[in-house]
Symmetry: D2
Subunit: 313 residues, 4 copies
């Protein structure tokens, strides 16, 4: 079995291999130029800050269905230990074990491969057990700072069937949905932007139902990578676990959006971003563009990274 | 044995307990107001970005001397796994075990206690094995975004004895050193700023010698918390493992700066920040103030957090 | 709130504090004398070996209800890595993160405390975050080798209501049940024996239903510690998650059997032991006593330990 | 580069592929028959028990040279937590992260491969990141119970140059050394035995010097696998980190004994076994054969396992 012709046709249309040289390891993050960053900083008006990461806790979004993607196990390695003797200043330390894709995260460029290849024609077997991603690792990412644009599809589509401000589970987010949300946003998405697509699905998790959150889930259509490619965005993040519509649109074609973004475009993508407070802030201030930082933790060889993004309005 | 009178006198002078209410859990991060953030964004000129985190790897800065503070163990939980069947898109995932204080990090407010107390008169025993920091946890921190100011003490003191651009191991960074570095910076440190104090000590680690990096180490004097308190800064970070001068200035008084910052002032502090590239950029652009984000990963109950800070010039 | 008088009366009757000296840290494991071991070895007839541990895997018996008691996360840290150069012998290594009480395990003597006390009147606060069990740790356990006796209560009670060879969920295992199983076993339990009590409850887990396995669960009555104390056994292990009847017999008295065994008697106890194959073997050979080793992994400061017991018939 | 002809000649002479069928996954553990076990049990005379595992602690034998093989990080996930409310029985739990080959352990059959092959002609790439050892995993091992024979080479060779009862670092343990130790033991090694070869090297670690322990190290010669093959032993364990002589005998031929034992013979092997107390007991009782259990922890897909062996004399 192999990927269908339809996929390969899409792949050809969004492919960025070689665009930034044969040795490039960061893909669309090349679009984060000083000029883009300057313009992003210029969007700051109110100075309001909105954090977009979920709390890191053992009852996180992972349900156990994906082996290895474990919720954070946070443990204290010292509690008020008087390491220099009785009566001295006391120390508390802690440690964690967690899947790098377990909570609010970026998928790195090696998170998926297809047909034996990673972005920029690198071989899939360059990912090894002892070295992790020996090319294209998340530690190669430059500082992720840009203009963020919230595409609040849930609001733009005034979806009520899925509850207030939430798309129903079966809703495939199409390019037309992105157009509608862009119009609501009142700004055109431009090269180097980081786009945040809101479905409202994370409301399930925030309400304590992580099974409903997981899937079925609304998500991006296989047609949306072309939209992002046309706008030349630097990255895309969403408020779902699966990123793309799940179960998938095309029978037997699993994770096509992952493959188009990560492998063909060389574009990192974010999942489990909490966009609820941000949606409220954008609606209040009636603007959907802001300064965004979403720094990768520089895990050497990482296929992904937890991220604590912040929007500054 | 208990802490000397000298310590208690210093403590009284910098104490912030009750300043933001009896229930406050974030201390000097209260100083990060929208106005401060707006002014910080206005410092952006060139759009140059500088990352300040060390790579996360197993041969990180920890030497094993502090039990439990383990360097990151990064492992792949899947490599090119065709989870939906042969020929489908393949997935690579990873996981990590690490001390939260192991690499570039923020000390959270519960990282140290003295005399049975944490910041804002909270009891030290509110830190528990199963819940971590049940008050004052790092997940309580608001988005850490402000103006950053580099106080390049190594450069200001033109220290050659410790090698080019590096203070010698025994150098205690005094308020006078901070004054000199502030003068070099050409800007006065103001309320809400995040101050980055450069000693150059991290050059040892970057050159492969983590024992030399660990200690003896230059670091902040017990007299500097008053300086930071007078300027009313939001946080302080440094490029050393020990933060403060180590071995300490006053015989038998271990970690007094930690105790003054974290317990008395309620001010988080950062260690193992790589300020080398930033120092070069600031010297080149001849300005030492910039936009800084240094988001805590929101570990529930965390006594600290890894951080991937970015300075935007 | 405190423990009821009924509990304290039971506690007094089974208490072993001081029996092996004020400094004793191993409790009833003192009963494992050379003579007991010799007699145990003499039980071997067929040479048949039966392993009693469940496989260690991520879909283990833990359901997530007990925070921190995580199923094993097994990861490869190297796969066929030619560490000495191309064409040389290649190495695969692995690592694990797991709760020590997650799978087939021994509860160590510090696993529970009551009224601020551990076994032998040691203070509960001798358990610390940085040191673990600073007294009574599992690493103090001598080699756990003795005569094992299977008390197959499920078989003795010919319980059909809970399915073939399995006690129903609400069945409290009483001293009378133990008497009946002992009669079936055809041997009297004697000092130093390790008693394995079979309920059949683990069949739920083996059939893939870990929720049914967890609870409600049949288990030992609060009256059984006196039985074990009278027989002077060295340890007791069972094939359930909760060890004792759960929910408990006496309203509001949680985990009394744990407290009586671990704190009062100083007797370690085992959970999640797979006794199914052993039950078949004992029935076939028509004898229920055998040579048993069930070595603690010597975790320094451990409150428990995974164990891979083996019965030799 | 490939393995030299000399290696392949040795490999051919000790190869067991197909001996127990094409599907066999346990190799020489097939030799652990009921008869062997019965005879092993019959060796018990004094009932004396000797544990052979090193304590599991963060300052274990690993020095950090082998990435991923991390010493145990033991943390408390609960300390005296009154999970059912104030005044109830309180619970302490713990967790661990550790390399499976970090301490006293068995190398499983997939721990090394050569020429793309594992034992019994299985492909090396059957070891995967998500599944571990999908064939030949350590969980396939039957209960490891047999007669143990201590071959105290250090004592037999009366080596004083390396200190009392310890071979010098450069000593290659030869078949002639094994003959001498067997003569000292007063029993002939026979099929199914588990042989413990003592060098005394672990005295370095016990004295606090783990660098001296690691290497250079005395160890088994490339000629010894033939000796073990001729005796048809079930397994071999030693008191060193490297198992075989290190640096190796033949320039550029790294880890040949590992490859011969694990890949060619299908024989698991043990490292970091503490044989010091056992050596004293055997000398005292003047017999070197005993009952041994050394159960693998059944990690599904494990390339190795920590082990807590016990000798019963």
């Amino acid at each position: 079995m192999s990927l269908p012709a339809e996929f390969h046709a899409l792949a050809k249309r969004v492919n960025n291999w070689g665009r930034w040289g044969a040795d490039d390891e960061i893909g669309t993050l090349n679009l984060l130029t000083p000029g883009v960053v300057r313009e992003a900083a210029a969007t700051v008006r109110s100075g309001r800050r909105v954090a977009l990461a979920l709390p890191l806790r053992q009852d996180g979004v992972q349900t156990g269905l994906i082996p290895g993607r474990v919720n954070p196990l946070h443990t204290m390695t010292a509690i008020n230990q008087e390491i220099f003797g009785p009566g001295t200043v006391a120390v508390s330390d802690d440690a964690v074990t967690m899947g790098l894709q377990a909570a609010t995260h970026w998928d790195g460029l090696t998170h998926v491969s297809h047909s034996g290849r990673l972005y920029n024609n690198r071989p899939a077997d360059s990912v090894t057990a002892h070295g992790g991603a020996t090319v294209l690792g998340i530690e190669k990412a430059p500082p992720i700072v840009s203009r963020g644009v919230l595409l609040d599809v849930a609001r733009a589509r005034r979806e009520d069937s899925g509850g207030p401000g939430r798309l129903p589970a079966g809703h495939t987010v199409t390019p037309e949905d992105l157009d509608a949300a862009e119009e609501l946003a009142g700004t055109r998405v431009r090269p180097g932007d980081i786009v945040l697509v809101r479905t409202g699905q994370i409301q399930h998790y925030l309400a304590g139902d992580r099974d409903a959150y997981a899937f079925p889930s609304p998500g991006l259509s296989v047609r949306t990578p072309e939209w992002f490619h046309a706008r030349d965005v630097a990255a895309v993040a969403v408020d779902t676990l699966t990123f793309e519509i799940f179960p998938p649109e095309i029978d037997g074609l699993w994770m096509p959006v992952h493959a188009l973004h990560l492998v063909e475009m060389g574009m990192i993508q974010g999942q489990n971003w909490n966009l609820e407070e941000l949606a409220g802030a954008c609606a209040e201030e009636n603007r959907y563009a802001f300064f965004l930082t979403a720094m990768a933790e520089p895990f050497v060889g990482g296929a992904g990274t937890p991220v604590a993004p912040v929007a500054v309005l």
